[in-house]
Amino acid sequence: MKDPRARLRVGVGAGMADDRLGPAVALLEACELDYLVCECLAERTIARETLARQHDDKLGFNPMLAERMRSFLPLCRAKGVRLVSNMGAANPTGAAQAALEIGRSLGWRDLKCAAIVGDDVADRLRTHPELQLRERKLPLEEILPRLASANAYLGADTVRDALATGAHVVLSGRVADPSLFLGVAMHHHGWDYDDLPRMAAGTIMGHLLECSAQVTGGYFADPGKKDVPRLAELPYPYADLYGDGELHIAKPDGSGGRLDRMTCTEQALYEIHDPRAYITPDCVLSLEGLSFEELTPDRVAVRGANARARTDTYKVVVGYADGWIGAGEVAYAGPNAVARAQLAARTVQERFRLDGGAASEFQVDLIGMSSLHGEHPQALSSAPYEVRLRIAARCPDRKSAHLLGDHVRQLNMQGPYGAGGPVNLGAKEVIAVDSVLIPKSWVTPQVITVGA
């Protein structure tokens, strides 16, 4: 029996690819962490990084990796904190090598880094065109010629195994966000998959922490209604997870932001569908019975999550090229502003066609009226004093996508009077994502270490 009161302390170093560095450094300096976990991989990031790696074999991992390593490694070394992150993206081995070189340049001679590989299943999927895309309800075959990437969401066991090598830094590609955190707990406490209450505790910890400051007052403030103290100084959270499964979410003592039942409840349900069946590679988590208790202004106890055994499939995110989006914006104010914006929108679309532009779909937004909630009855009931028109189009090629914005930019001279701040927002290459399920037996994760 492991020590039930042994304490694991995990801090959050990032919740998105370009998250702030300062709050992570503050945790490292002041909070006696055992581990720092940086979650940096959105759904389509790997597809973009796969394309980057095709152009240059040394790329394909998080562009902020070097900056983060230079900020974090000296503190990790001084305080004995191990770093876990999915910053490896489409090139975990290259990322581990880059981290090693940066560590050595900072004087850390015996640094050891580990890469988790095996999430890339693109070659395997090419032999299974019959798989069904879960979002678009089409066979995979439809997008195979345009496939950019296919990565399985690996589980916490890969992080556990990578930490077992003794590596100071673990860099993965696609690992499910909560699994990064659960893997740390499985290694630290020696937990295994048959211990479902502990799988639940580690998974809810990961789910609450994976979006960094979204649990400490980010994505929350509504002045006068839901105030967040010192929002500018929003801290990142950390968790204390004990051997018996007791879990606290915390922020530095006396820090800004806000951590309480309300912020924790919002984050607990963030991106959840059926709260009784949140499926990760490690378990099926249920939030039924979940509760939070405010222990101090900086600390909340989390209770009541439970789990069923993991499924026998991995979810695979597939990225594929899906044309181009072009967009432009221009603003109007004063009497009849909305009618002028609408005339401008019609004119741009017509000119675009006359010039040979190709588009399968247009989006016309009146910012200040209907750009966020669409044609909501309240938005249409009165005219705003000023309005900004945004036009976007789905185009088959870069040339058309750019042409659309050009026509918006030219409105100051060739559209309705009073066109303020016209811009061409440019052409954006679209990497769309979808997902398929595959048997776990198709995937063979591996750990590769470098250094020491």
């Binding site: 759904e43 389509r44 879960r134 979002e135 994505y219 929350f220 509504d222 209604k225 839901k226 309300m262 409840t265 919002e266 984050q267 607990a268 349900l269 963030y270 991106e271 959840i272 569908h273 059926d274 709260p275 009784r276 939030l287 039924e288 019975g289 979940l290 509760s291 009541g304 990225g319 899906d322 989006i325 967009a327 779909e361 247009f362 989006q363 937004d365 910012i367 750009s371 966020l372 909630h373 669409g374 044609e375 909501h376 309240q378 945004r390 976007a392 189009a393 789905r394 679209v430 990497i431 769309a432 994502v433 979808d434 997902s435």
Partner: protein, 108 residues
């Protein structure tokens, strides 16, 4: 006059593919009773219908005094394909808070 969901609850929206989930969390027990009774899946579907919403799933989490609404087809193809200004639907939680429920305002 009815009661706005805004006066009873706070909310957060999240995205997965072309589906948005909006969690609505009651401020207290009496607000929870009203929300549970009045904020039906159909009422939420109607509020999001002009954005393309399909059939809405509604889940109750009693221990959190929360309702979770899963609203399909409301993100114009999802974050990676959408032509919209807000492809994640981050602003879609405030739409639910603007729903007026046919019950007297608690303060009136």
């Amino acid at each position: 006059m009815g009661t706005l969901v805004y006066d009873l609850a706070h909310a957060r929206s999240g995205d997965k593919g072309n589906t948005s989930n909006v969690a609505v969390i009651a401020y207290d027990e009496s607000a929870w009773r009203v929300l549970r009774r009045e904020l039906t899946a159909e009422r939420v579907r109607q509020a999001y219908a002009h954005l393309g919403a399909g059939p809405v799933e509604r889940y109750e989490i009693e221990s959190l005094r929360a309702l979770n609404f899963v609203i399909p087809d409301v993100l114009a193809g999802g974050v990676t394909r959408s032509l919209r200004l807000d492809p994640h639907g981050k602003a879609l939680s405030s739409l639910i808070l603007g729903i007026e429920l046919p019950v007297p305002h608690p303060q009136s």
